[in-house]
């Protein structure tokens, strides 16, 4: 008898440690209570940044911006679950995860601004530049993890992608290559239930993303993506196992895109507000806040202080962003190849001359 659809949610139960009411329903594992306060403060800062970026687009300071609101726990859990020498291969909505791995937040603004520095990840950050072609990075993640294995580095990688990205051929090829070559990689799907206007259930007939793992003889996991404690512990375990050669793994972090797809999008056209409200209840920040309040690790003063610190940090980010705006446009020619070709050298000269003309 063939396997019947319908049992997958049981086969891949949702892993949870902190429930919607902020009650601990599992162990804290690798996190300690004080660490959770820091994570809470980071989340608050990231949320404020995200809102601010939205407004900057509205003011015309930056171009299209894709908010990560609602996905902070998934992204920070993924980032902090990794070890110091592990790598992150992000998608375009992962500024929280990138930040946690050492990429300054202004890169999110560079990206939206179309600033040449958008992908100029700091040397010390083990993070790939974000790119927008849906799912292409899943293969880069496999290749990177494979290079770690070939070079006998005791490190793993984690590649993020969306629920929509799971439909792309590249994702399939990545999972197949990854499992055939046994690379130290975590496929981390941020299932936020929407690919622009297309809901999960019209993206795939399967109940879960996690069950895709079965196609590749890979282990798959479904985790509450709004539960930082569950995500960070799961990623931590899997990264360790990946480093031991047991990878790859597929993780489906079940979360929700609380905002619009991007600043160019209007979700009221295609989704019901009661769905949004239901997910507002599951907001990852609120959940952590409740837990911390309940444990006496946070109080009103602490919340206010977190907000205050967040605003300062966001201001500092904006300041760094503004200072980076003085950029020489000729840089467009300098990184096409390692060396300027004769054609590009000549074109660069023409471009510079013209840029000067336009200035005047």
């Amino acid at each position: 008898m063939p396997m019947q659809a319908g049992s997958m949610e049981e086969q891949f139960p949702l892993i949870q440690r902190l429930n919607e009411d902020g009650e601990l329903v599992g162990e804290l594992g690798i996190v300690d209570e004080q660490g959770l306060v820091d994570v809470y403060r980071s989340m608050v800062m990231l949320r404020r940044f995200d809102e601010r970026a939205w407004n900057l687009q509205r003011q015309g300071v930056i171009g299209t911006y894709a908010p990560f609101k609602g996905q902070e726990a998934a992204q920070l859990g993924a980032a902090y679950g990794l070890g110091a020498r592990d790598w992150l291969v992000p998608t375009y909505r992962d500024w929280a995860a990138c930040w946690a791995r050492g990429v300054p937040l202004e890169h999110g603004l560079f990206f939206a601004k179309g600033h040449p520095r958008m992908g100029a990840v700091p040397e010390e950050a083990r993070v790939f530049p974000a790119q927008v072609v849906i799912a292409a990075q899943t293969l880069h993640g496999v290749g990177l993890a494979w290079s770690l294995k070939l070079r006998r580095e005791a490190a793993a990688a984690l590649v993020t992608f969306g629920d929509g990205a799971a439909s792309q051929g590249d994702t399939h090829e990545a999972m197949n290559f990854g499992s055939v070559f046994g690379v130290p990689l975590i496929f981390f799907c941020e299932n936020n239930h929407w690919a622009i206007s297309v809901p999960l259930e019209r993206q795939m007939r399967s109940e879960t993303v996690a069950q895709r793992a079965l196609a590749y003889g890979m282990e798959g996991f479904r985790v509450d993506g709004n539960d930082y404690v569950a995500v960070v512990n799961l990623v931590h375990d899997l990264a360790e196992r990946a480093r031991r050669g047991e990878g790859p793994f597929l993780v489906e972090a079940v979360t929700y895109r609380l905002g619009a797809h991007t600043t160019a999008d209007d979700p009221t056209k295609y989704r019901a507000s009661d769905e949004e409200q239901r997910w507002e209840q599951r907001d990852p920040i609120r959940r952590l806040e409740r837990f911390l309040l309940g444990r006496g690790l946070l109080d009103d003063a602490g919340i206010a202080e977190a907000e205050e610190a967040a605003l300062q940090e966001v201001e500092a980010t904006l300041e760094r962003f503004r200072q980076a705006l003085e950029e020489d446009p000729a840089v467009l020619f300098d990184h096409v190849y390692a060396e300027l070709t004769p054609q590009l050298a000549a074109q660069r000269d023409r471009f510079v001359a013209r840029a000067k003309e336009v200035e005047h």
């Binding site: 790119q131 295609y270 013209r354």
Partner: protein
């Protein structure tokens, strides 16, 4: 007659095609409830239902590949690729499949599908969203390549493309979707494929453009007339494959000079083909090299600097004057 934007004209054309022919369906990412990220399919799902206006999973090869099967099965799919830069994901299904079905089967099957996609720069879109890749498809036999530069042509060319018995890649300059309005007749009409448009008759030089570049070319033409006493002939190619060679050649034989303008990267762009053709068939008429005003040989730039990177009217004017003073 109503004054419509190109976006409205395209929307009207799609609605009329869906209405006129049961075989027509529209499919792609977000084309349904959302009406497409540029709203070109707005309202169609309400009028024609989710069976004919279809939100697909996020997979371009899937969209075009199933469209090939749909077309071979007797349907007339109009597929949307959300941005031209993502066409790479489905190059095989376009170039080796859709474009070869008729050839492969000696005419037993054909794949009359239309692939619509927004292209071109100037709207500050993210990486890979603004590329002009038309040359790749002009180099691909078996598929036609069409691009309108105004609302009137947009409607007429799209309806002609949907009628066409062969696959058509239909490139929509996204910068022009809402840039201006034209008088657009309400009733369905066709602008024939394969026929260039002499937008302005002239005598001193031929300016050749298409799609997103046309406003730049026209602005340059205005300047040439107003400030330099040069009267250019302006040709809008409209169909890029097959090229309307005779219109090009006849014009250049009269004007003896030409400048071709495109946003795409310079090397091996369609401008090269136009220049090669002209020197091949009209060398003895040429008083100056055919000029090319184009993008540079870099990836489409980060948008902070796209305005500097894109061809503008000043460059077209300079190129024209250079040709005249050669």
């Amino acid at each position: 007659m109503a004054k419509l934007t190109m976006a409205q004209a395209l929307n009207q054309a799609l609605g009329q095609a869906l209405e006129a022919d049961e075989r027509v369906i529209v499919l792609g990412e977000d084309v349904g409830r959302d009406g497409g990220v540029f709203r070109i399919t707005d309202g169609l799902i309400d009028r024609f239902g989710a069976e004919r206006v279809i939100d697909t999973p996020l997979a371009e090869s899937g969209i075009v590949g199933t469209s090939v099967g749909l077309a071979m099965g007797g349907m007339r799919p109009v597929a949307e690729i959300q941005f031209f830069g993502f066409i790479y994901e489905t190059m095989d299904q376009i170039a080796s499949q859709a474009a070869r079905v008729r050839f492969r089967s000696m005419g037993r099957f054909s794949a009359p599908l239309v692939i619509r996609t927004p292209y071109g720069g100037g709207v500050k879109a993210p990486e890979i969203h603004s590329d002009s890749l038309e040359a790749l498809f002009v180099h691909t036999p078996g598929i036609k390549v069409v691009t309108p530069s105004n609302p009137y042509d947009a409607k007429g060319l799209l309806l002609a493309a949907i009628d066409d018995p062969d696959p058509v890649l239909f490139l929509e300059p996204m910068r022009l979707y809402r840039a201006f309005r034209d008088e657009v007749p309400e009733e369905p009409y066709r602008v024939p494929l394969g026929v260039a448009n002499v937008v302005r008759a002239g005598r001193d030089i031929t300016l050749i453009g298409w799609g997103a570049s046309m406003p730049v070319v026209l602005q340059a033409a205005d300047e040439l007339v107003a400030r330099h006493d040069v009267v250019p002939e302006v040709v809008d190619l409209r169909t890029l494959s097959p090229l309307d060679e005779s219109t090009i050649i006849q014009s250049v034989q009269r004007t003896q000079r030409a400048v071709v303008v495109h946003e795409a990267v310079r090397s091996a762009g369609l401008g090269a083909e136009v220049a090669a053709l002209i020197q091949e068939r009209a060398l003895l008429y040429l008083e100056a090299p055919v000029g090319r005003v184009s993008g540079y040989d870099t990836p489409y730039p980060m948008t902070m600097f796209e305005d500097l990177w894109l061809p503008d009217a000043t460059q077209v004017v300079s190129a024209a004057l250079a040709a005249l003073r050669f």
